[in-house]
């Protein structure tokens, strides 16, 4: 569990009053991405095989994580970069603040990064008098609005162009029209000036290649290139789960990522950064710092079921197909990673006391596992986490509560002994008739009262054997 304690995530309470605009906007985005993904998958015959290989490589990396992280550190240093280890979120914030102060940074431009959201870096920088500006268009918009992301790929999808125009007009003191092209142009102009004047660029990473100490960063807008090219200082904050063995492995993940995320074959820009610039003429930072963030990840590794969450390559495909996510949107999950992956990530990172509702924010339909490019068994982990919610975060299979074992013991006895079963099926209708009112059972004694509190119980009419023999008889009479 991470060092910072997290406020309780009230998924149920939030979902009781979702603004009507959210499901419609989110469904528009998810259906676009689902369609795009399906088209890309259909044209790549080896996609299924790539998923399996991707899954195998990620599992292999998790099993050997210390080995690959050690190699990564050595390779980054050999390339002229500096590596910092952050055991906690607070460590990571202090490392970044110290670097920023050493370089007298006033303005930091940021490329979308989940790790910096996780450690709430922007607050820490602002508290130290350093402006931290999000530069991905969607992130820029929600930073102006002061809200969180509603979707991992299109974080501001819940806002209409009229709302964004009003936001720009208010915060930027301009007269912004409600036109996506014009709003994009305004943001380009404002942010262009910031890229050129910022003293520090902050990013995350999509992958870290252990073999050569290379940071791989994918963007469509080009803000990632700006942040890692224009300022003299580049600081990347990256979770220790992002490491992959080598460039051969990278071929697999680059083929899976954009296809699964946005339905592109590749995102517009993919950068491969090994250390700082080598010559003053080429542009790029003079200094490159890599902050490797643990923040509870190494503890999660103890749980062989739960740790498969670290296979995740953050594509968002699971959210796009999730019937729950499509109806509640990203805010409901109360954390910066939402959807099914958030429902298995947050409880492990924040502990089940804070995120105990999230493992239940699922119908267990399995659509997420079917599209996951690295085959994370999300429903299995959800069930596993439900058990941890019920029994505590200890991983040893605790004893079943006494009531459940007693009931299941009785049930297996009844099912094994024919006469008990037959007797029971005769007895039940009789017992139920005591409670029957107008063909339903409105209230029943405990433990069935837990059901009837919400809705009436249909009365038990006949056993399966009776039903089957009635059905067989009527079939015989009916000519086909």
């Amino acid at each position: 569990m991470s060092g910072d304690s997290h406020a309780y995530i009230g998924f149920e309470e939030y979902t009781a009053h979702i603004p009507a605009s959210i499901p419609s906007a989110v469904q528009q985005a998810t259906s676009r991405f689902v369609g795009g993904r399906a088209a890309r998958v259909a044209e790549l015959p080896q996609f299924e095989e790539l998923r399996q290989i991707g899954s195998d490589i990620r599992l292999h990396t998790i099993e050997n994580l210390d080995y690959y992280l050690s190699r990564l550190e050595t390779a980054v240093q050999a390339a002229g970069g500096r590596v910092h280890w952050a055991a906690t979120a607070e460590d990571a914030r202090q490392i970044v603040l110290t670097i920023a102060k050493e370089h007298n940074v006033k303005l930091a431009v940021k490329s979308k990064s989940m790790a910096t959201e996780e450690i709430e870096l922007n607050h820490a920088l602002q508290a130290a008098g350093i402006e931290a500006l999000e530069t991905d268009l969607g992130e820029y918009i929600i930073q102006l609005a002061g809200t969180g992301p509603s979707h991992i790929i299109v974080p501001a999808v819940h806002l209409k162009k009229e709302e964004i125009a009003a936001l720009f007009s208010e915060k930027l003191h301009i007269n912004a029209p409600a036109d996506p092209v014009e709003l994009t142009r305004i943001a380009r102009e404002i942010l262009r000036e910031k890229f050129l004047s910022a003293e520090m660029g902050i990013s995350g990473a999509n992958f870290l290649v252990a073999e050569t100490g290379t940071l791989v960063m994918v963007t469509n807008e080009g803000n990632g290139r700006m942040c890692s090219t224009m300022p003299d200082l580049h600081v990347a904050v990256v979770g220790i789960d992002k490491v992959i063995p080598d460039w051969e492995s990278l071929t697999v993940f680059l083929k899976l990522l954009a296809r699964s995320a946005t339905g592109q074959k590749l995102s517009t820009y993919t950068q491969f950064i090994s250390g700082p610039r080598r010559s003053d003429d080429e542009f790029g930072p003079k200094e490159f710092h890599l902050v490797l963030l643990d923040n509870g990840r190494s503890e999660i590794l103890k749980d062989p079921v739960g740790r498969e969450v670290f296979k995740c390559i953050r594509c968002g495909a699971c959210a796009n197909v999730c019937p729950v996510y499509k109806n509640v949107g990203g805010f409901a999950y109360g954390w910066f990673i939402s959807g099914p992956i958030g429902a298995i990530f947050a409880p492990q990172m924040l502990g089940t006391p804070a995120a105990r509702e999230l493992p239940y924010a699922s119908t267990l339909c399995g659509a997420c596992a079917e599209v996951c490019p690295v085959k994370i068994p999300i429903p299995t982990i959800l069930r596993h986490l439900r058990r941890r919610v019920a029994q505590g975060d200890e991983f040893s299979p605790a004893a079943m509560p006494a009531a459940i074992s007693a009931i299941s013991g009785l049930a297996s006895l009844a099912l094994a002994q024919n006469w008990i079963y037959r007797f029971g099926t005769r007895l039940l209708p009789f017992m139920m008739s005591i409670f029957k009112r107008d063909g339903w059972i409105p209230t029943a004694p405990y433990p069935l009262s837990r059901w009837t509190k919400a809705r009436p119980l249909p009365p038990f009419t006949a056993g399966f054997r009776q039903w089957w023999s009635d059905r067989s008889n009527s079939r015989k009479d009916t000519p086909r």
Partner: protein, 213 residues
Amino acid sequence: MSNPVIENIRKSLGRSGDWLVSQRPAIYPAYPSRATQDEMAAFLGEVRKLSGAAQQITLKELAEALKRLVAENGIRKATVWNTPDLQPLGLDSILDELGVELVAPNADKHEMALCDLGITSADYLLPETGTLVLRSSGEKPRAVSLLPRIHLAIVRPAMLRADMHQVFAEAKDSHYLVFITGPSRTADIELTVTLGVHGPKNLFVWMMPDTDM
């Protein structure tokens, strides 16, 4: 030397030392190479699908094509890579004759940002995705393909590789690489695709025969 994070990972995984407990799974083999003509057609087709303008061109047609590009896009300032494959093309003198001001590719970033056009070559091309692969060096500054509002890449069939496996095998020791797959784009406002949010708004790719120098 070890550190607390690595130590904690080892403890959680029940590992005692710095060695692999399993072999890295085999990866999917690279796509086989095809005839150059097929790879070229696939590459140019993909660039067009991404709203880039892609065409084949000869050295003789170059001056005329540049003239049209400059006129149609109102280009007043340009910056060009200093690479051995671009230098013999005489781009500087053609642009100069067209009245375009040339900015050195290693000029100050504020100056570079005022350029309308950046001209680069490429190191590799990927047909499957219509991707330009660019290395970085003193003669290949990164800003030329990033800051100007229009990016023109003059490329050669010899740069085509069947798959990214070959590119990585040749270039993984490079300290910086960028894959450029179409012009800068976003769909962050109401999912409306808009080009040129931070990087170039327009991408032109001109494929010139290997022998035209």
